[in-house]
Symmetry: C2
Subunit: 206 residues, 2 copies
């Protein structure tokens, strides 16, 4: 089974499968089927089978998929069978919520740096991590070889902060600011904007 450019849309579903599998494992389950997974996720069984078959033959006919094994395989594919250090920029309400959140570690991430430019925030501690001056950000990120960042600064300064992050070697940015960012090829951005998600649903309301 060769690595021949898997569609982005398939990669995008893997974390969803993973989340559901983790939940089943917590419930003590041993095996599942494409049908069961599909019903839980609202995705057709055929699609799940086809997605997984892109990476190997993980199931067994007549039985289904071993949950622990499949979980491990998907973790390997997504490279979350390790823990990525994450830098958070912006020690406001959102920065505070993500820094305090305990759910990242077992999904492949650990927040180890928080930066801000407000003197009243710098030096305070969030979940045992000291908020550092943004002036030191580039050096710190580079020194620690951090590749993943979460951006929780106001929209107006998001692009300038991103430029620094990119320059410092960040390759993946999760952006909470409600603006589209411009980054060079090779840097990935994902957006979280609750208003966008809500606006997506109001179209369908009466």
């Amino acid at each position: 089974m060769v690595d021949k450019s898997i569609p982005d849309i398939v990669i995008g579903r893997l974390p969803i499968y993973l989340r559901s599998l983790t939940r089943m494992m917590e419930q003590g389950r041993q095996v599942t089927s494409s049908q069961e997974l599909g019903e839980r996720l609202g995705i057709s069984a055929a699609q799940i089978r086809k997605d997984l078959s892109q990476f190997g033959e993980f199931g067994k006919q007549g039985t289904g998929y071993n949950i622990e094994f499949l979980t491990r395989k998907i973790q390997e594919i997504l490279q979350v069978d390790r823990v990525w250090e994450v830098a958070v920029v912006g020690a406001g309400d959102v920065g505070h919520a993500v820094a305090n959140y305990g759910g990242f570690q077992h999904r492949g991430f650990r927040i180890t740096r928080i930066f801000d430019n407000d003197p009243s925030k710098i030096g305070t501690t969030f979940n045992n991590i000291k908020v550092m001056d943004i002036e030191r950000m580039s050096e710190e990120i580079r020194k620690a070889g951090i590749q993943v960042a979460m951006l929780t600064v106001p929209a107006g300064v998001a692009q300038e902060v991103v430029d620094i992050l990119v320059e410092a070697g960040i390759k993946a940015i999760l952006n909470y600011a409600p603006v589209n960012l411009s980054v060079p090829a090779g840097v990935r951005v994902q957006y979280i904007d609750p208003a966008v998600h809500l606006q997506n649903m109001t179209y369908y309301l009466d």
Copy 2:
């Protein structure tokens, strides 16, 4: 131009267009083109034109689109040319961050109710909104006719809370808990799970 079932994927892009247009308007811009919008958003100009043309002829050849007019049209399409009342369930870190956030109002939403089941949270005030007992939730939502909710409770209780929300008449749920929810037809759910977004990007890292 008749309303003949617009693809979900087109609806999903409209809030993105809207966000970018709003930003241009703030910068005092009057007109834009599908090309400019496309470059900002990393979407082809043709696609933007085709998306918009599904709803009417909003542009002018040789000139482009009047930003204010197009903004208004998209707001109408998405039904965010009004303000939807939103109920937040879960007065924790995330609930606190969204309740405090001032950016919803001008995008079509206002948080007017917050519910929790923790006696130490009930009665406290978030951004002028008193946290109410979840026991009163069903009645309050029904009485106020609220259709939109944000779910910021722990994953383990998310489904049971959703069942109450649905029963109370909620039609659109923005779920922050890292679990897939089961809802009847006619109720929409959107998911925000930062770990999923991050896992989506690590696949592409070296």
